[in-house]
Amino acid sequence: MLDLHGYGPRLLEGAGVTLQLAVLSLALAILLGLLTASARMSRHWALRQLAMLYTTLIRGVPDLVLMMLLFFGGQMALNVATDALYDRFGVDWYINLNAFAAGVLTIGFIFGAYMGETFRGAFMAVEEGQIEAGKAYGMSPWLVFRRIRFPQMMRHALPGLSNNWMVLLKTTALVSVIGLSDMVRIAAEASRATHEPFTFLIPVAAVYLLIASVSEWLFARLQKRYNVGFGGH
């Protein structure tokens, strides 16, 4: 059997961290993506430009660089802010940005830009007549969004969403570089300590494949659900 040199439990914990990180950043990315897509279709020029700037800049820079900028720079900005708070008002408050929170925030922030593009395309694919019909029924804009726009948009967004999720899942490996003990970091540590890289890295790769395969199956089911009434697919 596979001899993990006692790293087994820590690797399992690391897998838990990876999964939590991925799911939480996905939630944040979806939220930011919906906001960005709405901003890009907004009537206000400034909002549209802001959303455009966000999606362009984020998608033009490597994830790892953004992660380091937000993690190392974020802590410094927080320190400056809390120092100013102390000097001005005497509030003694210290916030320590932990690697997990920084990971969720950065990955969510990065993929929010990709989700924004996915959602924008999907929102535009919903027929204008549907929304007009909703308005004609006297629905409020929020109700139109919840009952008409969102469910129909999801049908078009799901393939892109599932794609983004797969990329996001693999991106979580990068947080090991900024110091979070996810399964990649523990496997790399164990490889260095025991000089048996394959024993640790290949099972971790297999876990990623497993998560990817399970989510592929889940997305296929979701796709079926959102395609109800559109026949065939």
Binding site: V61, D63, R192, F198
Partner: protein
């Protein structure tokens, strides 16, 4: 020439972080990144063409192993692939005695191998999609002319598949540029490596990383415009007439 040097010195005057020395690190990093990305893309492309043809084969014993390869390399993080190759290369029996060892000992070549295998897997799938999308009429026409399947592949299927694959391949090139930042994790002084060094030396995260982000942004836009220009030229026949 002295004018430029003087202008440069004035520009940097009083700047503690961006001295000619650190800018030299960034320049070396840029060279390493561009080399790494360019070489792995070329090698990946060379591997991907036969693999994509094999992947579209009707024989399962050809297409299945290739599918397995692309599935594994597309389903796992590049960082893990890099670690496996970087830490694992020592364990090939007797490799330390061969002439390859001085080459493989440096981080550049394990990184190059990992990136090549990774981009080859993605490119294979892109080309496979493009080959599959060949209009049936073109194949029938080629058959009617009595072309052998090799000739048909070379003259009909591949040229049109390359054109169709262009937009997706442009994305892959940008993806590779961004993925190459990972090389800094295995001690390689690429662009990100240079930024990490400057950050650690001066404890200046904003200057170090924003500067490198701007360089990456410029590279990304350069690739974007190159592919847009290529598409305009090579896909001109697909554009609407008016």
């Amino acid at each position: 020439m002295p004018d430029i040097t003087l202008w440069f010195q004035e520009l940097l005057a009083g700047n503690v972080i961006f001295t000619p020395t650190t800018l030299g690190y960034y320049w070396d990093g840029l060279v390493t990144t561009v080399q790494l990305v360019f070489l792995s893309l070329v090698a990946g492309l060379v591997l991907a063409v036969p693999l994509a043809i094999g992947r579209s084969s009707r024989h399962r014993w050809i297409s299945l192993p290739i599918y397995l390869y692309t599935y594994v390399f597309r389903g796992t993080p590049l960082l893990i692939q890099l670690y496996i190759i970087y830490y694992g290369v020592v364990f090939f029996d007797g490799i330390q005695e061969t002439f390859l060892w001085p080459i493989l000992r440096e981080a550049f070549y394990p990184a190059l191998i990992a990136f090549t295998l990774n981009t080859a897997a993605y490119t294979t799938e892109i080309f496979r999609g493009a080959i599959k999308a060949t209009p049936r009429g073109e194949i029938e026409a080629a058959r009617a002319y009595g072309m052998s399947s090799g000739l048909m592949m070379r003259r009909i299927i591949l040229p049109s598949a390359f054109r169709r694959a262009l937009p997706a391949y442009g994305n892959e090139v940008i993806f590779m540029l961004h993925a190459s930042a990972i090389a800094s994790v295995v001690t390689l002084m690429d662009l990100t490596g240079a930024a990490r060094f400057v950050y650690a030396r001066f404890y200046a995260p904003f200057e170090a990383f924003l500067f490198v982000a701007a360089i990456y942004l410029c590279l990304t836009f350069a690739i974007l415009y190159l592919f847009r220009w290529l598409e305009k030229r090579l896909l001109a026949h697909l554009r609407p007439q008016n």
